[in-house]
Symmetry: C2
Subunit: 228 residues, 2 copies
């Protein structure tokens, strides 16, 4: 189903160590300046797999990443998309409980988990910041459980578009980095139902599609009414 990954550099082949001196409260917010260690992943390339050791923590520089779980027969649930600026791969306990893949060609900053741990052990503010990240992921998951358990197809898509809009650059114009199948697996639907719901929103005048990946919000109030 998914494309064969195009091999780029892997974290395991990294030569250079990152320096973790002088960590501040906003440590992970200005990580780019501190670390300089980054990796590129091609579309559909795996970043880490469920069950592996969690050796690294990641921050998206640009592009987009999906994290998901699979059932034995291939059914997939995407737990979240990680866009520029988002931290991911912060699995406490040291085991990956989801798989991470690049949605589009992406660059990510990489931090050695061991070193992140030592920062946390010394710096309360940094520890709190990372805890807050985990708490934010939990809050997102709680909202998403409501969507998956109780919302209709059109409500799910409306909520998704509002979420993407809130995380996008300019409000009202969304550039979707992912395909219909990814949206479907995020929303607990099939890609056909996602497509039909897009068409429905468009013919209702709520959104306008300029190609499959560019969405313009025409009636945010209506969308918010639907997204609940």
């Amino acid at each position: 189903m998914l494309m064969q990954p195009v091999t780029t550099s892997s974290p395991h082949s990294l030569q250079r160590q990152t320096h973790f001196a002088n960590y501040d409260v906003g440590f992970f917010n200005c990580a780019a300046e501190l670390s300089g260690m980054s990796l590129n992943y091609a579309r559909d390339e795996e970043i880490y797999g469920e069950g592996e050791d969690a050796e690294f923590v990641y921050k998206v520089a640009h592009g987009a990443v999906r994290t998901y779980k699979l059932l034995r027969d291939g059914r997939r649930q995407i737990g979240g998309f990680h866009l520029a600026g988002d931290l991911f791969g912060l699995d406490l306990g040291g085991r990956r409980h989801l798989t991470a893949e690049a949605v589009a060609d992406s660059k990510v900053l990489v931090f050695k988990r061991r070193q992140v741990e030592s920062v946390v052990a010394q710096n309360l503010a940094a520890a709190r910041e990372l805890w807050l990240t985990t708490a934010n992921h939990l809050q997102h998951a709680e909202e998403h459980m409501l969507l998956l358990g109780r919302k209709t197809a059109i409500e799910r898509l409306a909520a998704f578009l509002l979420e993407m809009d809130a995380r996008s650059g300019q409000a009202g114009r969304i550039e979707l980095p992912m395909l219909r199948r990814d949206i479907a697996d995020y929303l607990g639907l099939t890609l056909e139902t996602v497509s039909r719901s897009f068409s429905e929103l468009q013919s209702a005048g709520v959104v306008e599609l300029d190609g499959a990946r560019h969405v313009v919000l025409r009636n945010r109030a209506a969308l918010e009414e639907m997204g609940a």
Copy 2:
């Protein structure tokens, strides 16, 4: 839909302050000994509501608590059940993002959020323990999103029974503290579908129902096969 709460004591009417001296690594594990401050809630009584200030953190002494979100029209998604020993209400950011209610008559230990914060600010081990609690809640939510987005009714019930069994006292015998409606709202189903799925599991010889609330596992392997 839900019963009118029977009024018992509320956190806001507490006279006595808890003392937080001498906090250790296992602070929350031996909280009962340290605090002595506990509250009783009757079945269906609200402990806190979505949107309120998060003044307290709770630990279930006995009984069971559900935390959930509501849609405007009353559709409900239960995010989790909290049983004896479980911590809940640890909302970072100080706002409740779910509502908490007693599933059955329950006793909970109560901690002032302010004081928990000060412990966290001074004690790295305690901070790490609480962070781990948040991470465990996140991991549960990730597993539950897979269930809600991608599993069939029978798979959901199988997974639920395995989860409850793992958290119960003696393996293979489950005493369910909640009603069919709660199970349904946890699994993203209707209570009729939950009931039918119970019947199906029973006539397949996988479980045995002794009354609606007592379940005996007859074929764990089959249940695990279904629960995925």
